[in-house]
C-alpha cells in the first residue's frame, strides 16, 4: 500500500511517500515563496529522487483543513489534479489531527494552535500516548476558550503549531496547568504524519476512508465572510441590499473599523 501525501494547509509546503510502514521520503519547506510556486516542484523532485512510478501510488493523503483558505485550495486542487490523472482517491485528514499526531508517546495533552485570524485559533485537544485519541475535535475558537478547557482538564499540555507565538502571552497569563512548547522539528504540519494517519485510517476503514478525487473538497471549518452575510441578509430580509452591494460594502467598512 503506497500513499503520496501533500501538505499546503499552513506555512509548510510538503510531500511524503509512505509504503506500508516505511517512510520512503519526505520533503518539507517553509520559505517566502507561495505554495503555488513550491508545491508541485518539490513533488516532482521527491518523485525523481525516489524513482517513483506514480502509477504505483494507491491513494493521495492531504490535510483537508482547517487552515489558510488559499493554502487549502492549492493543496486540494493539486491533490484533485493528481487524483484525476492517476485515477486514485484522496484521504483527507483534519489538519489539527495531523499536527497533534507528531507528538506520539507523550503523557501530556496535545493542543495544536493554528492562526485562524479574526481573534481565533484552529485547535483541538488530543491524547497521543499509544495512538491518537481525540478529546476535543478540530474547531475554531478564541484562544482563551481552549485554555479554559485545558484548565478544566487539569493535565500537563504540549502546544504546537504556527499559532503558538501569538498565543504565548495569553498562555502565560491564563493557563493554570504546566505546559511545554514542541520543538521546531515537530511543531509544524508534516506530510509524513498525514500519510501515517491516512494509512491507519485506511487499515481501519478500508474503502470507506477514500474519497473520489472529483468529489473531494477542503474542510474550511468556517464559512466565508460572504456566506455569513448571505445568511444575515436572509434573516433580516435584506436580500435587495445584498444584491445592491450595499451590505457587503457597509460590513467591509465595519470590519475595517473593527480591526
Amino acid at each position: 500500500m503506497k500513499i503520496f501525501a501533500i501538505e499546503a494547509s499552513g506555512p509548510v509546503a510538503g510531500c511524503a511517500v509512505l509504503e506500508d510502514d516505511k517512510l520512503l521520503g519526505e520533503y518539507r519547506i517553509q520559505n517566502r515563496l507561495t505554495h503555488s510556486q513550491t508545491l508541485v516542484p518539490i513533488m516532482e523532485e521527491l518523485t525523481k529522487r525516489l524513482d517513483l512510478d506514480l502509477a504505483s501510488v494507491d491513494a493521495i493523503a492531504l490535510t483537508e483543513g482547517p487552515g489558510s483558505f488559499t493554502g487549502l485550495r492549492i493543496g486540494a486542487a493539486t491533490a484533485k489534479g493528481m487524483g484525476f490523472a492517476l485515477k486514485k482517491p484522496i484521504i483527507g485528514i483534519p489538519t489539527t489531527d495531523a499536527l497533534a499526531a507528531a507528538a506520539f508517546g507523550t503523557d501530556a495533552l496535545v493542543c495544536p494552535l493554528m492562526d485562524a485570524r479574526r481573534g481565533q485559533v484552529y485547535t483541538g485537544i488530543y491524547e497521543e500516548k499509544d495512538h491518537p485519541v481525540t478529546l476535543r475535535p478540530c474547531c475554531a475558537v478564541p484562544a482563551g476558550e481552549i485554555l479554559e478547557d485545558l484548565n478544566a482538564r487539569g493535565r500537563e499540555v504540549l502546544f504546537l503549531g504556527d499559532g503558538v507565538p501569538a498565543a504565548m502571552e495569553l498562555i502565560q497569563s491564563k493557563l493554570q496547568v504546566s505546559y511545554r512548547i514542541a520543538p521546531a522539528f515537530m511543531n509544524r504540519q508534516s506530510p509524513a504524519v498525514t500519510a501515517t494517519l491516512a494509512m491507519a485510517r485506511w487499515r481501519e476503514l478500508g474503502d470507506k476512508a477514500l474519497i473520489n478525487a472529483d468529489d473531494f473538497r477542503p474542510e474550511y471549518l468556517r464559512k466565508s465572510q460572504a456566506e455569513r452575510q448571505l445568511e444575515e441578509a436572509r434573516a433580516e430580509h435584506a436580500m435587495d441590499a445584498l444584491a445592491a452591494g450595499r451590505l457587503l460594502k457597509d460590513r467591509k467598512a465595519q470590519d475595517h473599523a473593527g480591526t
Partner: protein, 341 residues
Amino acid sequence: MTEKTCTILGIESSCDETAAAVVVNGRDVRSNVISSQIDIHTLYGGVVPEIASRKHTERINQVVGQALREAGTSLQDLDAVAVTYGPGLVGALLVGVSFAKALCFAGNIPLIGVHHIEGHISANFIADKTLEPPFVCLVVSGGHTHLVVVRDYGEYEILGRTQDDAAGEAFDKVARAIGLGYPGGPKIDKAAREGNPDAISFPRGKVTGSEYDFSFSGLKSAVLNYLNTEKMQGHEISVPDVAASFQKSVVEVLVGHAMEALDQLGMKKFALAGGVASNSALRAKAREECEKRGVSFYCPPPILCTDNAAMIGCAGYYEFRKGVRSDFSLNAVPNLELGKR
C-alpha cells in the same frame, strides 16, 4: 493535412466560470464546457472572490472530465495542457493553475501558462478559420478594456487601455444604479432596445494626452448624477432611455477609438473580443463603421466571447508551436501584462 495533429486541453478559472475545452490544431474545438457560478454571485450583485474560488475547487474535476469525454479524448492523447495564469482573481486562478500543474506532473504532459486576454483575442481564430494576424482587436469585458494591435500570433502592441473602470464594470455599476441588477451587460443591452439612445446626453470619456486610452468613471458619475437630479426634481426615470443613452456613449467611445486606430495604422482587419463583445449595439456599430471603411469585421459568437477554455486552448496552441512551455513553479499572476511572461 501535412501538419501533425496537436491536441490541447484548455483550462480557465480566472473569474466566475470554471471551464475546460479540447482544441485540435488551435481552431478545431472538440468540446467547450463552461460551468457558470453566476446564480450565486447575482445574490451579491457581483463576483465574490472567496465564493468563486471555493466553487472552482468543487467543480474543476467534473468540468475537465466532461470536456475530455465530450471530445472523446484521453489524457494520453494530449500534446499539452494550457491554463490561464493571469490576469484575474488570484484565488480563482490558483485553482486552475494548481490543478493543471498536478495533472501535467502526474500525467507527464507539457504545460503552457496562457494570458487570459490572449485567450479572448484568440477566440476570433476559432470563430473565423481564415483570420490571420495582423489585425486590430478591441478586448472588452468585465475586467478589461484593451485596444491592441495583434502583430503576429502571441505578439501584441497595446495601443490603449482603460484608466479606471473596465467597460463591463461600468455596465455593472450603471445597471445596479437603475435597478437592473447583475450582470449589467446583458440587462442593459436588453433594456436599451426599448429606449431612445438620444434621450439623454451623457459625456464621451476622453483621456487627455493618450488618444487610445479609455475612461468610464466620468460617464458612470454622470449617470449617477443624472439619476439623483431627476429624483430630487420628482421626475420619473425611464430605465430604457438611461440604458440606451449610456450604452450609446460607451459604444461610441469604444468604436471611435478603434476606428481611429484602424485609420491611423491603415489596417484592414478589426476584431472584437471579450464578454462585452456580445453587446448587440457594440457589434452593430463596429460592423457598420468597418463596412464604411472597407475593413473586414470579425466577432466571435457569444459562447466564445464569455470566459471559456476553448480560447485558452487556441492561444495555448500558438504558444506551443513557438516552443513555449511552463515549468511547475508556474504561479497565478493577478495583474499579468499582455505579451509578457
